[in-house]
Amino acid sequence: MSKFSKKKKEMPAVNTASLPDIVFMLLFFFMVTTVMRETDLKIKPPKLPEATEVKKLEKKNLVSYVYVGKSMDGEIKGDVIQLNDKISTVKDIRNFILAKRESVAQNDINKLTTSIKADIGTEVGTIYDIKNELREINALKINYSTIAVPRKK
């Protein structure tokens, strides 16, 4: 037998003792980042339009959402507006925004944005009514919520 004869080495098994730790770490990451939707949609989920020139909405707590779409069961004709968890009318927007203003700090009031999440089949007239109502109470910053798509070259 030569001096350098190869001993048969067994492959050591990979130590999996720290696997739970890794999994837990990932778990915590996803638990922390998960945002459950705060409002249940009472209207048909609006199909947002696509746009290329989009801006991100930065501070989520300064945004009020106005959902516009068709009613879930099709009972109500025309466009339906949802604020918070309730189906509302254009007239309710005023109180909705004023309530939002109460809930934020004084110097953040002019940073409040209204995000309009409207279905592509909505009538422009409805959107105009909403905008007019917002103008009445001086809530001038709005954002037409869209799906961002890259620009075509």
Partner: protein, 208 residues
């Protein structure tokens, strides 16, 4: 009595449980960042104040009817993707002087005296029917914003060698020193003022 050793809890399945939870959160997580076209509404107007008289050549009228057809300047039917170039041509024309009497030295348009005088004076007006689809309306808005962004990009590239988007991003960077932040703010403002976004929206007409 014999002392019985308390058996250790088997932690082998811990990983499985954690995995199960992990998969649950993976599936339910939605990382959507809200984004959209930002716009500032005009302030409420006093009905007694008469609107200023504008020269027709300084107003670029885009009309959308309830079938989603787009009519530009009351003469040309157009597709959505043609809109941007026409709007750029209009904004970039620089055929005359602004209200302080300066000519537009950064405009690269045709200097057609029948089109807009100066980007400061050029107004885009969107008129639509109440029954117009919101999708079409947003597409038009998007194209018009794109026209402004293209022009601002061009100016920013000429002046500072970076795109407007990059300039805004840098100005918002929180790691900037105070002086640098001020400086960038001035730059952003300068580019914005070269092509101020003036989009007016008329009240939608009921019958079309």
């Amino acid at each position: 009595m014999a002392k019985r050793a308390i058996p250790e809890i088997n932690a082998g399945s811990m990983a499985d449980i954690a995995f199960l939870l992990l998969i649950f959160f993976l599936v339910t997580t939605t990382m959507d960042i809200d984004s959209g076209i930002s716009r500032k509404l005009p302030e409420k107007q006093d009905p007694n104040i008469k609107p200023p008289i504008l020269k027709e050549k300084n107003v670029f009228v885009v009309n959308i009817n309830r079938d989603g057809n787009i009519l530009v300047e009351n003469t040309d039917f157009m597709k959505v993707d043609e809109l941007k170039d026409v709007a750029i041509k209009f904004l970039d024309n620089g055929g005359g002087k602004d209200k302080d009497g300066n000519t537009c030295d950064y405009c690269k348009g045709k200097k057609d005296p029948a089109s807009s005088d100066h980007p400061n004076k050029a107004i885009i007006s969107i008129e639509s029917a109440r029954g117009t689809d919101y999708g079409v309306y947003i597409q038009v808005q998007n194209e018009l914003v794109a026209a402004y962004n293209d022009l601002r990009d061009r100016s920013s590239n000429e002046l500072y060698g970076i795109s407007f988007e990059e300039l805004v991003k840098r100005a918002k960077d929180e790691n900037n020193t105070k002086r640098k932040a001020e400086d960038l703010k001035v730059k952003v403002k300068r580019v914005k003022n070269m092509f101020p976004m003036i989009i007016s929206e008329a009240e939608p007409v009921k019958f079309n």
